[in-house]
Amino acid sequence: MPKSKSAYSEPGKLGKTEHHIIVVWVDNEAGVLARVVGLFSGRGYNIESLAVAEVDKKKHISRITIVTSGTPSVIEQIKLQLKKLIPVHKVADFKRNDPNILFKELALFKVVSSKKNREKAQKVCKKYNSFVLDKSKNSFVIQVTALRREIDKLIETLGPLGLVSTSRTGAVAMTRGAEIFK
């Protein structure tokens, strides 16, 4: 059987995939998120999570935090392509294991189960700055802030303890120390 035939070359050697957190400061105008997200989907880049909100009310600047993965050259392209978008002011790129960067994600869990399991669940969440936001006879809603992978793990642990609903914000990031990204 002949293989598929096309007019294009075969893929070259691929570099190693890395996880990066890309932070983009944009004008908060109509369609800006579609531009950023469309760039990712159109060029085949990954989005693992996305968090966006206006951070400067006066200048109407929004901060978009995107967790992505790709080879070093793909990550470089992502940054360069983002910088070409007209409403984009600046683009920062952090490696996931960069010790100088703080990463946090907020999650809400709804647990419906027996008292015993709810207590267990609450205990598991304790070390992630947890707050119980709502309680009923057989349920509670709890908020945690943690790293992405910690939340991934929590979801696994909470499953058998009655986790019925999860909501996550996606990771946000900030540099440590007095420096800010210019």
């Binding site: 035939k5 096309s6 007019a7 075969e10 050259s73 984009v88």
Partner: protein
């Protein structure tokens, strides 16, 4: 408090401010207020196309041949969607276009109103930027910014979507003359080229014994001065130079230092030089996949310098050793100055260094890779292009093309000596580009000879624009290399799909002579090689638009060709080379 004027009038005020003389378009419901306003602006002439895609390609031809942005005016819904092909084409080939589209009134947006579509959504990936104007007070600023974005940095298309109510609404017209504040500093590459970068370039040039300039459309886009500087640089160094499809004309095609076009259908000497060089100086080209072939084996032993105005073009496909983000014109000027100041005798002192290299190149040249077996009985397409070149080269001729074999033959056999004389759809490869592009070129250059070297399949895609040419008395010449096949498709099917010519033969073609007459222009046909010159001269001397039906050998293939996943140093030169079996694996790679 000044006089209040309508959104439609503001559109024209900004067009006038940017000295726009021609707009290409097609009216419709959602854009009528702008069309209504047209009569009040005598310096702006509207060219009525027959399809919005045609209007778009015409605007592209206008832009590429004149260096000015092309302006396109279309209605909402189908008007906008028909323009998408032209916008994408312009985006791929970096052509500055400003597309103004009508939109349904603001209060109807999102209701699936008649002729509504999400124009900004649809055109977002095929424009540099687009705007939906929601407030008439923003209109002047947005229109002005649209020109700024389209024409600066790496040029490209932009779109301004204007709802009908905004076109009617009145406001004060204020256009701040000082639009100096660039949108987030994107338009201009930052600052001057550092002399340390220039010295690095010169150092690499001195160390190299096998250098090559690889130049592209960026040189054309940078303006005629850039082409002049490129010529100077080549003469200062004595280095060989090759060009991409889009860069043809930046350097004289008949100059001995020019190796011809490179890439899939480039010359043997150009591709072998690219493979074997030890220094590649890329000026305004983008390492497109038609150029590089197999990336892993692309020019394995060379240091690479890449000069480009678009930082995202550098390192995208090929890693380079020295990246310089700059307008290529400014770079070339600065480099020439540096060489003349600090390395006056570069050419002579370096001659010995590259003498062996030129000997290698001459050996490759001996292969005469563009040669073909001519015939007395049937017109070979290459011969037709050669004759057209010989008979039109003494005029300042502008050539457009469609897409396919004829396009490659035109690129190989027509020698361009000036920039902006060659308009072809390279990145997107849009069949149907050439005829409307010729319309736009002729609008920009009413007294010049404009020829669309076409294929019969491509040209039928936008044939309706002949009607535009006739309306505006544009004497464009449509020189059809008629082989009755989608020739490039047929060629690939022959080489890769066991000659299964699936749907690539057009069993019913129009009589092009009668078609020409139906449109009100002149039809000429040539079927024998010995009548070709006379017929081409007849075409050139005809004052009306011409459709020239040049019946050529239907079985001719386009050579040379980099086949099946081979690197640049293993080209097919002609049918004799084909016998070497293409492996299954290789078939995916052409």
């Amino acid at each position: 408090m000044g006089k209040l004027i309508s959104g439609a009038e503001i559109v024209f005020k900004v067009l006038e401010h940017h000295k726009v003389e021609h707009i290409f378009g097609y009216p419709g419901g959602a854009v009528l207020p702008i069309y209504d306003e047209l009569k009040n602006h005598k310096t702006i002439k509207h060219i009525l196309a027959r399809h919005e895609q045609g209007a778009g390609h015409a605007a592209e031809g206008y832009a590429r041949s004149s260096g000015k942005p092309g302006v396109l005016l279309v209605t909402s819904g189908p008007g906008a969607t028909n323009a998408v092909t032209a916008l994408t084409d312009a985006y791929m080939d970096s052509v500055p276009l400003v597309c103004i589209s009508g939109q349904v009134p603001t209060h109807l947006i999102g209701t699936d109103a008649f002729q509504e579509c999400d124009t900004t959504g649809i055109t977002r990936p095929c424009t540099k930027h687009n705007w939906l104007v929601k407030d008439v007070n923003d209109l002047a600023k947005i229109m002005d910014l649209a020109f700024e974005v389209a024409t600066t940095g790496r040029p490209g298309p932009v779109l301004v979507d204007i709802p009908k109510d905004i076109q009617f609404k009145k406001t004060n017209f204020v256009l701040k003359n000082s639009n100096k504040k660039k949108p987030n500093g994107k338009s201009k590459p930052n600052g001057k080229i550092s002399s340390s970068d220039l010295d690095k370039v010169i150092n690499l040039m001195k160390k190299s014994s096998k250098p090559i300039f690889y130049t592209g459309g960026g040189v054309i886009n940078s303006g005629p001065e850039a082409s002049k500087s490129l010529r100077e640089l080549v003469s200062l160094t004595g280095f060989p130079i090759t060009s991409t499809l889009q860069g043809l004309g930046a350097y004289p095609g008949d100059d001995p230092l020019f190796l011809g076009m490179l890439g899939m259908h480039g010359t043997y000497e150009a591709n072998n030089s690219m493979y074997s060089c030890d220094l590649m100086i890329n000026i305004g080209a983008r390492f497109d996949d038609r150029i590089t072939g197999k990336v892993d084996e692309f020019s394995p032993n060379s240091k690479k310098i890449h000069v480009d105005i678009d930082p995202s073009s550098i390192g995208k496909n090929i890693k380079v050793d020295l990246a310089i983000v700059s307008d290529v014109g400014s770079f070339l000027q600065a480099l020439n100055k540096r060489i003349k100041e600090k390395h006056k005798d570069f050419l002579n002192s370096n001659k010995q260094n590259i003498a062996k290299w030129w000997k290698d190149i001459d050996k490759w040249r001996q292969k005469k890779s563009l040669s073909f077996k001519n015939s007395k009985d049937v017109i070979k397409p290459q011969y037709a292009v050669q004759r057209l070149y010989e008979l039109s080269k003494n005029k300042d001729t502008f050539i457009t093309t469609e897409v396919g074999q004829h396009q490659m033959w035109a690129a190989q056999h027509y020698k361009f000596n000036k920039p902006n004389r060659w308009m072809t759809s390279g990145g997107l490869g849009t069949m149907g580009y050439g005829l409307p592009a010729a319309v736009g070129v002729q609008i920009a250059h009413p007294d010049k000879l404009v020829v669309d070297i076409a294929g019969e399949a491509s040209v039928l895609m936008t044939m309706q624009e002949m009607s535009t040419a006739v309306q505006y008395k544009l004497p464009i010449k449509i020189f059809i290399l008629n082989n009755q096949y989608m020739g490039m498709v047929r060629q690939w099917q022959e080489l890769l799909h066991e000659k299964n010519y699936s749907e690539s033969y057009t069993a019913a073609l129009p009589d092009f002579i009668k078609l020409a007459e139906a449109y009100g222009c002149v039809g000429i046909q040539a079927t024998k090689p010995d009548e070709l010159d006379e017929k081409i001269n007849e075409m050139i001397n005809t004052k009306e638009p011409v459709i020239f039906d040049c019946r050529v050998d239907p079985a001719e293939n386009c050579y040379p060709m980099i086949p099946s996943g081979k690197p640049h140093n293993q080209m097919l030169l002609g049918p004799e080379d084909e016998k070497e079996e293409v492996t299954d694996e290789g078939k995916t790679l052409v």
